[in-house]
């Protein structure tokens, strides 16, 4: 039986993610864990997170997880979700500038203020709700229709230095990177655990992923 570790470092609703993973693949052993050994013992790792990036980075450091996450990012399938995606980049604009894990070179930036849609209507921040995801070729999109809608809630987004790391984009109103992929690391800005059928399919694909693109 394969296993997946959901990293518990005090940031985010881990139960939702654990339940969704279990629902997506009932045969997988899903564990919500916080210690290094348990994380490294799992076949796959999910790095979730909601809230503010500085709190997130502090929590990662306080739990002494920086090295573990770095090790996982080099050795086994890793899925970053929301803030767990942003934390993988080099730096974030949030909280006056915050250093992140630098596992994917790039930065995290705020949506422009005073954005408008094509009809001139003000666009709200946070970007909240179901938006279309334009996929680039990757095995984690298997059996998910192009332009499917996933659930987002965020005010900052990742901008990787290398365009080859962009696994999907979403428009708000300009296209931004909503998924990144680099070797055995995949990360999404949206919440697959809250994106109904398509979200569960993505989780299922991750739970069967060998870490190759």
């Amino acid at each position: 039986m394969s296993s997946v570790a959901v990293i518990d470092y005090g940031m985010g609703n881990l139960h939702s993610i654990a339940k969704a993973l279990q629902h997506a693949s009932p045969e997988v052993d899903v564990r919500v864990v916080s210690d290094k050994q348990s994380i490294l013992a799992a076949d796959r790792v999910v790095f979730p997170g909601v809230g503010a990036i500085r709190d997130c980075m502090h929590a990662v450091q306080a739990a002494e997880l920086t090295e573990v996450i770095t090790e996982v990012a080099q050795s086994k399938p890793l899925l970053g979700i929301c803030l767990g995606m942003q934390a993988l980049l080099s730096t974030s604009e949030e909280n006056g500038g915050t250093d992140c894990l630098n596992l994917i070179p790039g930065k995290v930036i705020h949506f422009a203020k005073d954005m408008q849609d094509v009809e001139g209507q003000k666009l709200k921040i946070p970007h909240m709700g179901w938006n279309k995801v334009q996929q680039n070729q990757h095995s984690l999109w298997q059996d998910i229709t192009q332009d499917s809608r996933f659930y987002f809630v965020h005010s900052y987004y990742a901008q990787p230095d290398d365009d080859a790391a962009i696994a999907a984009t979403t428009e708000y109103p300009q296209a931004f990177t909503c998924a990144i992929a680099k070797d055995n690391v995949f990360a999404v800005q949206f919440h697959p655990e809250k994106s109904q059928t398509v979200g569960l399919q993505l989780l299922k694909n991750f739970l069967h992923w060998d870490g190759q693109s």
Binding site: N13, V118, M128, G129, N131, Y172, K194, S195, Q196, T197
Partner: protein, 258 residues
């Protein structure tokens, strides 16, 4: 634009049971919030909101169990409102599987609570629910005031200023209910909705007064709402969520069809 306007069915829950009689033919127990939530999820609801109207504190735990059960099989965002007064209440709901909490009267009595809640849990899970009533006389320029106790008690607080303040304090979303329209089925207070939506930077959910599908369209087009919430039209199976979305799409509104 590709972000969909959201449709959010709302369930009033008292002691763990859906309050208003539901007449769905395809579910066994129409009073079971888990079954009703499951149905709304199947129909394509974008989120589900539970309003806990349980009067006694002792029975509060029942809503937690409801959320736990729903969250273990319905994978869309869940919001719980009603009786959220302490940080501990929020922690409890989030742990049960809620994604957001609605704070209403506790915000009016202690605005700092919203600030603390947003700092602790993040703005993304803090919805400030505003119950507003028009207080301007005919001929005067429109003015709405915040009411508490189900619309019975005025507070003297201007609704628009209040919405701006709550966003400033960290609200990630505003759930705006017109107490004049609630239960009337004559449509949203569009002036109120538009005024609030244009005044704040965060998404606004329009609520109160939906009686037919055209009202949902008006809420988005004229009210500039980012999401629309309704209870009875879905509850009594007058329309399904799916029908509502198809109607909105035919009217040129971007929705998520599953």
């Amino acid at each position: 634009m590709s972000l969909a306007k959201r449709i959010i069915p709302c369930l009033d829950v008292d002691n763990g049971r859906v309050v208003k009689g539901v007449k769905f033919v395809d579910i066994r127990d129409a009073g079971d919030p888990v079954e009703v939530a499951r149905r709304y999820d199947r129909e394509g609801a974008d989120e589900i909101t539970f309003l806990d109207i349980t009067a006694t504190h002792d029975n509060r735990d029942t809503i937690v169990h409801v959320v736990e059960q729903v969250a273990s099989e319905v994978f869309i965002p869940l919001t719980v409102g009603g009786g959220i007064r302490k940080l501990e209440d929020i922690r409890c709901m989030l742990n049960a599987g809620a994604d957001k909490v609605g704070i209403n009267s506790a915000a009016v009595f202690n605005p700092e609570f919203v600030k603390q809640a947003a700092e602790k849990f993040g703005s993304q899970c803090i919805v400030v629910a505003i119950d507003a009533k028009k207080v301007s006389a005919t001929g005067e320029s429109d003015r709405w005031e915040i009411f508490t106790h189900g619309g019975r008690k005025g507070t003297g607080i201007d609704a628009i200023e209040w919405a701006i303040k709550m966003v400033d304090y960290g609200a990630g979303e505003i759930l705006l209910t017109s107490m004049d329209r609630d239960g009337t089925k004559i449509g949203f207070d569009l002036e109120l909705t538009r005024t609030v939506s244009e005044a704040v930077s965060v998404p606004v959910i329009a609520s109160g007064g939906v009686g037919k599908l055209a009202h949902l369209v008006d809420g988005v087009k004229e009210g500039k709402a980012d999401a629309v919430l309704a209870a009875s039209i879905f509850h009594f199976a007058e329309y399904s969520v799916q029908e509502a979305k198809e109607y909105m799409q035919a009217e040129g509104i971007e929705v998520r069809l599953t």
